[in-house]
């Protein structure tokens, strides 16, 4: 590969464009930076300008810590669920016995492709205590004696909506893990089999280490998505009942609906700080990956 990069044609091309990459990227970079930086700066300025009263009120909200706990549970369940399903889905798609792989791959992508509001509405009706098809199936099968209050029971609702987030984001995990699996040289599997390794051992000693970096990126991406997720919860429960499915983005929107700009800015800054932490880990992981490659 190094030799390919050194061919005269490539060198000539590099020479022609060598002085321009930054200039070529500058307009797009400036536009992106402007569109990102201006809202962030104005939000931070707004938070500081009111003397931090928005932040003080945020921490004084009676259910603030419940919201934080909900956000953590929501993120962990959503990410774990999507990663596990992503692994299983990708391994199944790679199985040689599987026929019509292209068809399955396309079908798996559907939850990721359809609009969030549509998916959330379908799930809202499916989980309804009055009309829900899921309860009807479970009742017909004799699994439950009476309808489960999926969206009304405060002990259940957060997990119920997290399942929908998993349903939406798992295809992304399947896609990423599939791509990583395809990059594992077949010689490694063959060598392991020659050495008498069983399927679980191949999975643990060959597959998992080979796609560790991809798994890291998938986890971070899913975590950032979960932290910023709004549509599913808003459409399905509006954060209820009694705040039991309220996470930070829902709290932010509620503040915005009330016209409470300082509280809105305070929630946004808090959410930004959390996302920055994840983004730093993400960038670090990507840098490590580049160095490894």
């Amino acid at each position: 590969m190094t030799q390919t990069l050194q061919t005269p044609a490539v060198r000539a091309r590099r020479g022609r464009l060598g002085g321009h990459p930054v200039a070529l990227m500058l307009p797009a970079a400036a536009l992106t930076a402007g569109l990102t930086a201006i809202p962030i700066i104005s939000t931070i300025v707004r938070t500081i300008a009111d003397g931090g009263s928005g932040l003080a009120r945020l921490f004084a909200i009676p259910n603030f810590w419940q919201v934080m706990l909900n956000t953590v549970i929501w993120t962990i369940v959503s990410v774990l669920g999507a990663v596990i399903i992503g692994y299983i889905g990708a391994l199944l798609l790679q199985a040689k016995a599987l026929r019509l792989t292209g068809l399955w791959r396309s079908l798996i992508m559907i939850p990721w492709i359809i609009p969030g509001v549509v998916g959330a509405t379908v799930w809202r009706w499916s989980l309804s205590s009055d009309y829900g098809i899921l309860n009807q199936w479970l009742l017909d099968l004799g699994v439950i004696p009476e309808p489960v209050q999926w969206l009304s029971n405060p002990d259940v609702v957060l997990y119920a909506v997290a399942v929908v987030q998993v349903w939406v984001t798992a295809p992304f995990a399947v896609l990423m893990v599939s791509a990583a699996l395809a990059g594992i040289p077949t010689e490694r599997y063959e060598a392991a089999r020659l050495d008498g390794a069983s399927a679980p051992k191949i999975l643990w000693y060959i597959v998992v280490p080979s796609i560790r970096a991809t798994t890291g990126i998938v986890v971070l991406t899913l975590a950032i998505w979960a932290l910023n997720s709004f549509t599913i919860i808003w459409v399905m429960t509006s954060g209820g009942p009694a705040g039991s499915s309220t996470i930070l983005p829902i709290l932010l929107y509620q503040a915005f609906q009330n016209g409470d700009q300082s509280l809105t800015a305070a929630v946004a800054v808090l959410q930004l700080a959390i996302c920055v932490l994840f983004a730093l880990v993400y960038v670090r992981t990507m840098t490590d990956l580049e160095e490894q490659s």
Partner: protein, 414 residues
């Protein structure tokens, strides 16, 4: 430096794209400038009014050939955010149809034009529903023209009542509770409360009960009492907890309740005249009555929509001319789906159907303008969650009452 043909093509395409974008921008700016000169005004109108509004605009433009009106459709879900952002940014339309409940927020920020001069002999203040103009006024002026006004009333299924051996609709809270318990059997729930969706749908009913029980509204802000809060919490949260309001209330918004009512699975509920119209259209058994109160007819809050002209509008005169045109009784009646804000517009036959009469009586004799203090608005989510906590059994009525009263003291003052 020689340019290779392929690079030249790329540069050419890039230049064309840049020129096209720049040209579009220049064209739009020029168009806006021209439009400004031509006195084109924009009116943000909700989707449910759009078709009739189009007809009215046509008539207005023919009466005022020097003014063009551009209609922009909004939706009930998005109008609050859209208007708020527009007014905050200063990039505003010239006329906005907006909920009266939010007007004071904009008034307090000084974002609205004074429309006092529109109230003259052709549009006298005393022709408007009681209190409807007061809530959009302060000492310095009047900042909206209400055009649509409505309250909730009791909607019930007479067939289910008859089956349960109940002779008529409840007129007091005690009867309401007794009837709801009798009506709750099998798949049928006595009543339901809208706890999903917009939290103000639930707190509107909460405050209706509280206002019938000693709470008052002063300067647009509710003044709650321990008793009124306790009773209201029991009637809503307690009903869900005790099972005579459906447990699925936690999943229902107004539309969801209406659907269950149409299917005969909710026997009665407090709803708007839209719901009755829908039931009549679908041939469902429906009747309406005054809202029950502690000892007789209850109090319902009058809520409505009105026309605003942003202070930042650059076409104030033309905008006011349009608002004045829309404020005439006949145009108000044409554009109103519930009840018109002007009494003289209520004579239109479409407001006189038997199912609408209890709503009209509730509005005329047993209603108050809803609070419009932004401080109350900021409390709504909290009150909503406390009602839900009672319904879930995670708070007692007393705990929720104390929490609400404390929050009210902190937020609304003594």
């Amino acid at each position: 430096m020689a340019i290779r043909p392929r690079t030249g093509v790329f540069i050419g395409i890039g230049a064309i794209v840049v020129l096209a974008v720049a040209g579009t921008v220049v064209y739009n700016v020029a168009q806006q400038s021209t439009a400004s000169d031509a006195n084109t005004i924009s009116w943000w109108v909700p989707d449910w009014d759009y078709d009739v509004a189009s007809d009215l605009v046509e008539q207005f433009e023919s009466d005022n050939p020097d003014i063009d009106v551009e209609l922009v459709k909004t939706t009930g879900d998005t109008v609050a955010n859209k208007v708020s952002v527009a007014l905050d940014s200063g990039n505003v339309p010239d006329v906005i149809t907006e909920s009266i409940a939010r007007v004071k927020t904009y008034m307090d920020k000084g974002q609205l034009a004074d429309l006092s001069d529109l109230y003259d002999e052709n549009m006298p203040v005393d022709d408007f529903a009681p209190g409807s103009v007061d809530v959009v006024s302060d000492d310095d002026g009047t900042y909206a023209v209400p055009y649509r006004w409505a309250t909730n009333a009791l909607i019930y299924n007479p067939e289910l009542f008859e089956k349960a051996g109940i002779s008529g609709p409840p007129t007091t809270w005690a009867e309401f509770v007794d009837d709801a318990k009798k009506l709750t059997t099998g798949d049928v729930a006595g009543t339901a409360w809208p706890t999903q969706g917009d939290p103000s749908d639930l707190t509107l009913r909460f405050l209706d009960f509280a206002l019938a029980d000693g709470a008052t509204i002063e300067n647009g802000s509710p003044r709650l009492t321990d008793q009124s809060v306790s009773d209201s919490l029991d009637l809503i949260g307690g009903a869900i907890r005790d099972g005579w309001a459906t447990k699925s209330s936690f999943e229902l918004d107004n539309t969801g309740i209406r659907e269950l009512f149409l299917q005969g699975r909710v026997a009665m509920y407090l709803g708007g005249v839209f719901d009755v119209d829908t039931a009549v259209e679908q041939g469902a058994p429906v009747a309406s009555a005054l809202m029950p109160g502690p000892d007789g007819p209850g109090v319902a809050q009058g809520v409505g929509w009105g026309y605003l002209v942003p202070k930042a509008s650059t076409h104030q005169d033309a905008a006011k001319k349009l608002v004045s045109f829309l404020g005439s009784p006949e145009n108000m009646a044409a554009l109103t789906l519930t009840f018109p804000a002007r009494v003289s517009a209520s004579e239109d036959p479409k407001f006189q159907t038997p199912e609408r009469k209890p709503f009209a009586e509730q509005l005329a004799s047993h209603s108050l303008p809803a609070p419009n203090d932004p401080k109350w608005t900021s409390m709504i989510q909290f009150v909503h969650d406390q009602i839900e906590a009672v319904g879930l059994g995670s708070s007692t009525t007393e705990q929720a009452r104390d929490a609400i009263m404390q929050q009210a003291t902190t937020t609304l003052g003594e």
